[in-house]
Amino acid sequence: MNNEAAPEPNKYARTPQPDKYALLREDLAYHQARVLLLITAVSALRGHQGKLDGLTKLAKLDFLLRYPALAHLVLDDLDPNDRRLNLTRRDLAEPTSVEAPMIRYKFGPWDDRYYPMIGALVGRGLVRYARGRRGSVALVSTPAGKRLTAEMSSSNEWRIMASRSRAIADASAGLTGSNLKDLIYQRLAGLMDRPHRQVIR
């Protein structure tokens, strides 16, 4: 945005309502930032063929990122004491008490904002679409995305999130979205055995 020039009258302009979408926008930005970290971490690894293949895989890996204390139960290669996860005792004692909970959908945890998130990340040139397996859409960080990720990873706000993303990306190498879905249903049967559209807490 450019705030230096005075705004000119615009035929499309309406009465500005600065507070109306501010929180929604920033909340969307928060999710975009996290998903970017995840896509960057996954697409940086050979075990994922340099991309995050499919929205199912994205949703499942994002679930593990948002519920980091459950990740080691799903991913055999992940140690709960892995320093990258940065888990506190409280996290392990209350693994579903998280800052961005998800909703139980028919095929597991999901977030309705994935489409706008992906659209916004691609629109901003941070992520690009790539060819996925069986004709699905895969996501890859662009150089701009990687740069932003690098900046964020060194910030206080995002350092832990970036570190967790790498740990999860590492531990999930070789697993498809379908594999992850099956593992979540198998290992976290108690959490998945609940009505659809219920917040997973």
Binding site: M1, E8, N10, A22, E26, A29, A33, R34, R90
Partner: protein
Amino acid sequence: MTTTFRLDAVTLQTTEGEVRYTFPSDLSVLAGPTGVGKTTLLELVKFGYGGEAEIAEVARDYVVEVRIDTTLGDSRFRLARTIDPSKRKTVRVIDLVARERLADHYTTNAEPRLSSLLLSALGLPDDMRAPSRTNVSRNTGSRISFIDIFGFLYVPQREINRDIAHSDESVREPKRKAVFELLFGLTDADTLNQRSLINELQGKIDTAEIEARNVAGFLASSNTTTQENAHSLVQEARSVEAKTKVRITELRAALDPVEDRKTSVLRDLLADTERTVADCRSQVVALQRREREYRVELQQVQDDLDRLSRISDAGHRLADIEFEVCPRCVQSLATREVPTGACRVCLQPDPAPAGTAEFDQYESKQLRDQFNEIESQLHAASSQIEETSNTEATAVRRVAELTALIESRTRERITPRLQAFADLSERLAEARSLQREMEGTLRQWDRLQDLELAARELRSERENAKAELQRLEEALEERREQIFSDLNEEYGHTISLLGVPGITSASIDSRTYLPVINGTPWRKHGPRGGGITTAAQTAYWATLLAVAQKHSWTHYPAFLLVDSPRQSVNDSEALSQALYRRLVALADTNREFSRIGVNRAKIQIIIADNSLPTAYRSDYAQVDFSIENPTVPTIRHPGPAKVKLLGS
């Protein structure tokens, strides 16, 4: 005074009627051949007097009851005794003088005893005993009964050529001799009782001595403390007990106020301080719990702040990155003309950034205020925990100090006394235990002394009894000498009169009271079974009767019942005649006494015999029996061949 004893009549109640024989004469002869029932009749007489007799088959089968009419001293009785074994213990008695039925008497020891009645009638006590005179005897002797007396009056067929009043049976010896002495006044109830007493005392002495020996042996073998030592130990233990009791009482009195006021105050303080410790502990726990809750809450607020910070950071980071492609159609926006201050995608005016910041600040401020508040509460809680913990630590130290102080006071004041109390209690228990033990020992010694004392006393008593017996016997000695002088003279004379072949000298032994023939005692004189034995025995009984008749102070019953002497003298006519002559002479003495006016019991002699010397028929009453006219004439005689003789 020779005592009157007459058999006045015998009545047999048979199944076929009554048979009655009376004996009014001083000399009666029941004559008849063997097998007509003479012995049966005499045995029934003995049975009628309450004795154990040989009951002949005919009597068992046909005689229902035997009735004896008898005169004993001044009394006259009718004694009726049934043959029935189940009822023969009872004898019906009628006092013929008073003409009244007395209570039934018993031939056993049940009261009233028939023996007592008859002895009493003869003027003899019925509680006399015949103790053995050997030194080894410890028995008071068996009771002398009427039947023992009757043994001197009835000479059964089976004995006439054998022994005298069962003299062959040593077991009956004391009684035979006692009865002899009694009847001749050579002894009396006092003397017999004295002998019994001596024997009884000897028995008791033996028992006491044996027991004393046993106890002494036990005390020696068990190495028991001596009596003196035990006594000394008991005294000592009693003294210790008394002193210890006094000491315990003093100690108890000293122990009571030991819980003084200061200790009591200290205990109160201790209790208060312990309560403080408990309160502090409880408060610290509650504060720690609250602190944990604050920390969790603080963490949650911090998380919210972090999320807000991330949201805000993400907003800021992405706000400056323009859309290069349309997020919907993915077409490039690079060439698109966009008015200043408008969204590159929707071309609407960009929202004012100030609004967002304001909102962010508001929420952040709220959260921070909340964070600060929780943090200050957490701080306050922590401070309070520290403060309370300090208070608790101080109280704990105070508790330790107070406990030590109280313990010190208690230990100093009570413990030594408690130890002393325990020591004294132990000493008291030991003293009592020793007393019990020694008292037990002393009881054993006392027992020994008691036994020894009892033995000494018994020995002394026995010596006194012996002295008394000797005095009594000495008093009787003159009479004894008189009697034996007379007996020897009379017996020698009688034997001489009878002209018993082969007997050159005859006397009566003053110890055995039995004949001594040709210097040989009766027991050793043989052979038995001959006429000489019968003659010597008949002469003996005649002698006894004659001497008794001579002395007014004897109790000898003037009665003799002899079964078949003639048969036993082997029908020696001369001897038989001499025998009868002597017996008749005895009977005649009565007449002589009567003539000169001397009051003496009338002698009654009843003889059963086969045949009689014809020369004396006029001098006695005679009842003749035959097979056709047996002694139980109501029952037909089965014939001589079928008779089983009594005693055979």
